[in-house]
């Protein structure tokens, strides 16, 4: 490795986080307004103004040109990396690098998506001569719901993972959502409810699938030095990692091991200098119930093939051994389309101790991890109250 990742450890901190004013089904708000609200709220959380911001990171349709226009910000550093839902987790790494290099000082990472109402959103469409339209879409591939299932099926085949184990994730996540007033779905569910919900794309039932909502989220990152003087207790970035392996799921290197996540996780833990046992709370992008199971394996919280058993017995529910997706996750809290920013928001709030009834006691170190595309990219972020 050309550079010493240890030099990055603790160099920057997340100093402000927020959602848009509302989350859910918001036909009265455009995707850009959701960006603006989240940015406004995150800067207020940090005790900063927009004139402090000198770097903008965003992703998706409303990329790093739209946001400066809409917000009246003139960034001297622009990050528009788009690898799907985990893009914002990966933006933290890019912001860290830019701040460490002296290219900027206060980085805004912003997301807004009218995922359900589709207000001011582009029509999602592949060109007729795209590889997708030649080699996947002719077979009735229907986006993430079909693409993510290929790993669930093969995992079941090789390791005996069951639909009941997948359902455990949805049930535990809903219990966390019940403790979060901002969560979209808060009524308790059972494993039987998940298995009896209608099939979307076997092996996924409706309740194995994330929500489709509208909303925004933002985070503010700055140097550890500047963070000391700001309003909030800094949440230091200890380790980051990212990787991508494919665009079309049919090109995925392995259908039982999430290679991109393995690579991202190894690097993040190496940089952070912490072990899995040091993690107090986990925010794992749960586009479908299988995704956090594969993340647990890829990130070394259990061995390959053991993810289903790991989540059994409500292991990830409130009050249990492994607090995971404490906001209620993409499955029950919100999922605008690109959920990654919300893992960061919840991790920071847990480490600040702001989470009320869902607060994980004495949470000092948290991990965020996300997927982008169709298992295509992965990003890992380890944060802590301690440098």
């Amino acid at each position: 490795m050309a550079t010493d990742p240890g030099k990055m450890r603790g160099a920057v901190a997340i100093v402000g986080v927020a959602e848009s004013d509302e989350l859910g089904r918001l036909p009265h708000k455009s995707s850009l307004q959701l960006h603006m609200e989240a940015t406004h709220n995150a800067l207020a959380d940090a005790g900063l103004t927009k004139s402090d911001v000198d770097a903008v990171f965003s992703s998706g349709r409303n990329m790093a040109n739209d946001v400066p226009e809409y917000l009246g910000i003139r960034p001297r550093f622009i990050g528009g990396t788009q690898v799907g839902g985990c893009s914002f987790i990966l933006h933290v790494e890019h912001a860290m690098a830019a701040i460490q290099a002296g290219l900027c000082e206060v980085a805004l990472i912003t997301h807004g998506e009218s995922g359900y109402s589709r207000i001011a959103m582009p029509a999602p469409r592949w060109g007729d001569d795209s590889t997708n339209n030649q080699f996947e879409l002719p077979y009735g591939a229907a986006g993430p719901a079909t693409g993510y299932g290929f790993l669930a099926t093969r995992h079941m085949h090789e390791y005996g993972t069951t639909s009941e184990q997948l359902a455990e994730v949805a049930v535990a996540t809903r219990k966390w959502a019940a403790l979060n007033p901002k969560a979209f779905l808060r009524e308790p569910i059972t494993v039987a409810d998940v298995l009896n919900s209608r099939l979307i794309a076997w092996p996924f039932h409706l309740l194995d699938c994330c929500l489709v909502t509208d909303g925004g989220g933002a985070a503010v990152v700055t140097s550890a030095e500047r963070a000391r003087d700001l309003r909030q207790k800094p949440v230091y970035v200890l380790g980051t990692g990212e990787c991508a392996t494919h665009q079309m799921v049919s090109q995925m290197p392995s259908f039982t091991r999430w290679d991109a996540a393995v690579a991202a996780g190894e690097r993040a833990f190496c940089m952070a200098g912490v072990r899995q046992a040091d993690i107090d709370v986990a925010q794992f992008y749960d586009a479908f119930t299988i995704v956090p199971i594969l993340a647990l394996e890829a990130l070394g919280f259990c061995k390959p093939g053991e993810g289903g058993a790991f989540v059994a017995g409500q292991r990830t529910a409130p009050g249990s051994a492994f607090p995971m997706n404490t906001n209620g996750g993409g499955l029950s809290y919100t999922h605008t389309g690109m959920y990654g920013i919300f893992t960061i928001i919840e991790a920071v709030r847990q480490l600040r101790g702001e989470c009320g009834p869902r607060q994980v006691p004495n949470a000092r170190t948290a991990i965020c991890h996300g997927t982008g595309g169709v298992w295509s990219a992965a990003a890992t972020l380890i944060v802590s109250t301690e440098r």
């Binding site: 002719p138 009735g140 099939l199 794309a201 049919s250």
Partner: protein, 139 residues
């Protein structure tokens, strides 16, 4: 028939044109790297394993195994196959993998199995484009 087809219709690019022309003649073309020896799909002029340009078209046997699959109950709008239908990732005997539909089988997880043997079954969707579907084959 061309007017009637309502699903996505692939539009070949220069590097994929030979694949689609062969499919129309019911031949499954993949590529093999002359340097590292590996087969691959989809068509590209450089080997994705070693980045060599020394690659050649070869005709695959059309036999393989169903590596993994989903059974889709929510088809995209106007997709012509009746739901539920099986979307599979087939691993060809030569080692390359491709997405396809598994046809000629009851779309039920009790019937469709990972690693089951399959063979190519070409399906004309327009006068120009033929899709390689796969169906179960006897061992």
């Amino acid at each position: 028939m061309a007017d009637a087809y309502t699903g996505p219709i692939p539009k070949p690019t220069p590097e994929t044109q030979p694949f689609w022309e062969a499919a129309k003649q019911r031949r499954l073309l993949i590529q093999r790297c002359g340097d590292c020896g590996q087969h691959y799909f989809y068509p590209r002029p450089l080997c994705p394993h070693c980045l060599s340009r020394n690659v050649a078209w070869v005709q695959a046997s059309g036999r393989g195994r169903l590596h993994t699959f989903v059974i889709n109950h929510r088809p995209p709008r106007n997709f012509p196959l009746p739901a539920p239908y099986v979307i599979g990732i087939v691993e060809l005997e030569e080692g390359a993998r491709m997405m396809t539909n598994i046809v000629g089988i009851n779309p039920d997880p009790a019937t469709v199995r990972c690693d089951m043997p399959v063979e190519v079954a070409f399906h004309d969707i327009t006068t120009e484009i033929t899709l390689p579907h796969f169906r179960p084959r006897a061992r």
